[in-house]
């Protein structure tokens, strides 16, 4: 073994990473997103995607949905550290594989090309609730809602049908059935 030259011990343990969705209810005030994002960057946690918007105007509450990866220990820390922030009201966390929870991402896709090509593009998105938001004789803007990996795949597939621009949101989540997040 080489001599450790550090004042800190080095861990060689490799643990499995899980993907988790974390939902945070916060006061909609200046700097709150910086607090959340700063917590993640400062402690070295990942953010894969992030979606924020006010959900209760009267109570001034925003709902943040964060997709993150980490070991079970890190995920637990994320949850507990978030809870310590003063503007945070509640934190919910669940695994990406959780069947009781619905996730959706939205993407806007701009396809430019001849009519036939554009129709093919539209057809390729058929499974993912395509809505044509804008139409010219050269282009379509198509809105789709799907899972992240489905959109990833679609982007690859649509390249040959004249996809020129993509705009995507982070994931949002909701529980199935009458239950709500606690």
């Amino acid at each position: 073994m080489t001599k450790a030259r550090s004042a800190y011990s080095i861990s060689n343990k490799k643990e499995k990473f899980d993907t988790h969705i974390i939902v945070v209810w916060v006061d909609n005030e200046a700097g709150v997103l910086a607090r959340i994002a700063g917590l993640f960057s400062g402690r070295g946690y990942n953010i894969e995607s992030l979606a924020v918007a006010e959900v209760d105007k009267k109570l001034n509450i925003s709902r943040i949905t964060i997709v993150t990866t980490g070991t079970p220990q890190v995920i637990n820390q994320i949850r507990l550290q978030l809870k310590k922030l003063v503007p945070v009201h509640n934190v919910a966390d669940f695994k990406r594989e959780d069947k009781q929870v619905i996730f959706k991402e939205m993407a806007l896709l701009k396809v430019v090309g001849k009519n036939g090509k554009r129709e093919k593009a539209l057809k390729a998105c058929k499974k993912y609730n395509p809505v044509i938001l804008d139409k010219t004789n050269k282009s379509y803007v198509i809105q789709v809602t799907a899972l992240r990996r489905e959109i990833d795949k679609m982007i690859v597939d649509l390249k040959k049908f004249g996809l020129v621009s993509v705009s995507r949101t982070g994931a949002v989540a909701m529980t199935r059935g009458s239950e709500i997040f606690k």
């Binding site: 450790a4 030259r5 800190y8 861990s11 060689n12 700097g31 507990l80 310590k84 003063v86």
Partner: protein
């Protein structure tokens, strides 16, 4: 209509309602309205530091020795950036500070105005919470909330940034609503079931150890009393982190000394071999655990902490009890007395073998060193300082480095709030300004900063503060002309390449003392040390004591990097003989 007050007046009304007696600060353009208002509030005294970092550390010393929050007042821009080190230090060591900073007027924010900086942005990761007040109507509410956040739950620093125009604007003042205790978040989240589980583990254990930390001190003096009661009741050995020293009497036979990187042989081996570890208000810091994969492999671990995020952060525990140490200990003791009145007897036989093992470890005398007649050994200096002051109620602060560890090892504390050191952040330059704050909170007590010559030069300017307010603090410098801990690491890990760790051209500390208008004393030989220390104690003015010590002494015992608790390096005696006795003592 109720009376209108300016923002500056509201600041003071809040401070008065919070029963603040002292503010540590430094004026500047963006806080002038607040400084102007100072004269109208006789119950609040302002202590003028010489640098905002000094003001911050002084407030920390005040807070840690008094149990009350420390108040800091600084200006915008450089005032705020200078206080960042102190805020971070307070955050790491859970010290309640309320920092009020001035800001450029609201309409200039974002224009790169003179002495503007993004104070709330800069201090966001080093405070529990911070606020930029943009409307004078929110000011009172915000300041009261700031006190609440700083002092409840796990304490910590907060900052309120007040633009200059808000300090002039007028609003009515509403007294703070009755304080609710829980920071919006309850502190005591444990149940009786968990306490019962703990007691079950206590009665079954054959090799227990209690490991207490700064949480006991933060929980108030009652927590220290309860901890003593629990240790007495169970007959368990106890060790303490750097921050927890004083919660349990240092000279008690059940106390194994400090644990961790420079902890005693008995404490670290007991931690490694135990079958039950009860962590009371400590956080499994990396200086404590050493190599985490091999940390106390055979034990059931219990963690009592007020902060849920401390649980399972570094070390996975078997039983977590989230709550205030006082409350948890009180419930535990009550339950033991009710259901296991004979616990002392049954435990005694249970753990008698364990104590025999501990005594074997103790016989190694890991804090021993080879004394000298020619030069003052730093350990000897601390020991003499302790012996000559132990009849007094002495308050010790330190800087960071070898002297800090020697102080922790050789100075024994028997009361909480007597030991103020920068453990988490490890801020060189902490001790001198902290001593200023400690002396403010405890005017008639003996306050000593055990210092290193390199650290103390970082905030030496605060001597001027001590002189201004006639604070008879004693700066006891263990002067070896090196950044001792840096030199030690270079000796052990970097092939004795002493890169930049020697300070040439040090000032003459005795003359420096005189220049500041205080008293300078120098000790050069072990022979004269006692007399000089007594002279220092009997001087009723600030003193800089230049104690010239052995230049190359290392701080032992030591857990080297990346090693578990049972692989310590012992002192030089041990290395000379190069003996290896058993697996518990392998030398590196």
């Amino acid at each position: 209509m109720s009376k209108l007050y300016t923002g500056a007046e509201i600041v003071f009304k809040c401070l008065e309602d919070q029963e603040v007696e002292f503010i540590f600060g430094y004026p500047g353009g963006a806080v002038l309205p607040i400084y102007d208002e100072l004269k109208n509030h006789k119950s609040i005294k302002h202590i003028l530091a010489r640098h905002e970092q000094g003001a911050g550390h002084a407030a920390e010393g005040y807070a840690r020795s008094s149990g009350k929050p420390g108040i800091v007042l600084v200006t915008s821009g450089p005032g705020a950036t200078n206080v960042v080190t102190a805020l971070t230090d307070a955050y790491m060591d859970s010290v309640p500070l309320v920092c009020i900073s001035g800001q450029v007027p609201t309409h200039l924010i974002g224009t790169d105005a003179f002495q503007e900086c993004d104070t709330t942005g800069i201090t966001r990761p080093c405070t529990k919470h911070n606020w930029l007040v943009k409307d004078v109507k929110d000011l009172a509410k915000t300041i009261h909330k700031a006190f609440e956040v700083a002092t409840t739950g796990r304490p910590g620093p907060v900052l309120v940034d007040i633009p200059k125009d808000i300090q002039f604007n007028k609003s009515s003042y509403t007294k703070q609503k009755k304080q609710n205790k829980f920071n919006g978040k309850l502190n005591n989240l444990y149940s009786q079931k968990e306490i019962d589980e703990l007691i079950k583990l206590i009665t079954k254990s054959k090799k227990p150890i209690i490991y207490s930390g700064g949480g006991v001190i933060n929980s108030g003096t009652e927590a220290s009393q309860l901890l003593r009661e629990l240790v007495d009741l169970t007959g368990f050995p106890i060790t303490s982190t750097l921050q927890g020293l004083g919660a349990f009497p240092g000279e008690d036979t059940q106390f194994l000394g400090m644990l961790g990187m420079h902890g005693t042989y008995e404490a670290n081996n007991a931690m490694h071999d135990c079958d039950l570890m009860i962590n009371v208000g400590a956080r499994f810091d990396d200086r404590i655990t050493g190599k985490i994969d091999e940390f106390s492999p055979k034990s059931k671990k219990v963690h009592i902490d007020i902060d849920p995020s401390s649980i399972n952060k570094n070390v996975k525990v078997d039983l977590a009890i989230v709550g205030d140490v006082s409350s948890v200990l009180r419930t535990t003791i009550k339950t033991i007395k009710k259901f296991k009145p004979n616990i002392s007897k049954s435990n005694k036989s249970n753990i008698s073998k364990w104590w025999e093992q501990i005594q074997k470890w103790q016989s190694v005398n890991s804090l021993g060193y080879i004394n000298s007649k020619e030069s003052i050994k730093p350990q000897y200096a601390v020991q003499r300082l302790y012996e000559l002051t132990k009849n007094k109620d002495t308050f010790i602060t330190t800087e960071v480095g070898q002297h800090q560890m020697w102080a922790a090892q050789h100075f024994k504390f028997d009361k909480p709030n007597r030991w103020m050191t920068s453990g988490g952040l490890g801020t060189m330059g902490y001790g001198l300004p902290a001593a200023v704050g400690v002396q403010i909170a405890n005017p008639n007590k003996l306050v000593i900063d055990i210092a290193g010559e390199a650290s103390v030069l970082m905030t030496m300017q605060e001597m001027s503060t001590a002189v201004q307010y006639s604070l008879p603090i004693k700066i006891f410098i263990l002067n070896n002309e090196y950044m001792g801990m840096v030199r030690q690491w270079q000796e052990l890990l970097h092939d004795k390449n002493y890169s930049e760790s020697y300070t040439a051209a040090l000032p003459d500390f005795v003359k420096l003392a005189e220049a500041y208008g205080c008293v300078g004393i120098r000790a050069k030989t072990p022979e004269e040390l006692d007399d000089k220390i007594i002279e220092m104690i009997n001087t009723d003015r600030p003193v800089i004591f230049d104690c010239l010590v052995d230049k190359v002494e290392n701080c032992f015992p030591m857990i080297p990097s990346g090693k578990p608790h049972n692989q310590m390096i012992l002192g030089p005696k041990d290395q000379e003989e190069n003996k290896i006795t058993g697996k518990g003592k392998s030398l590196v």
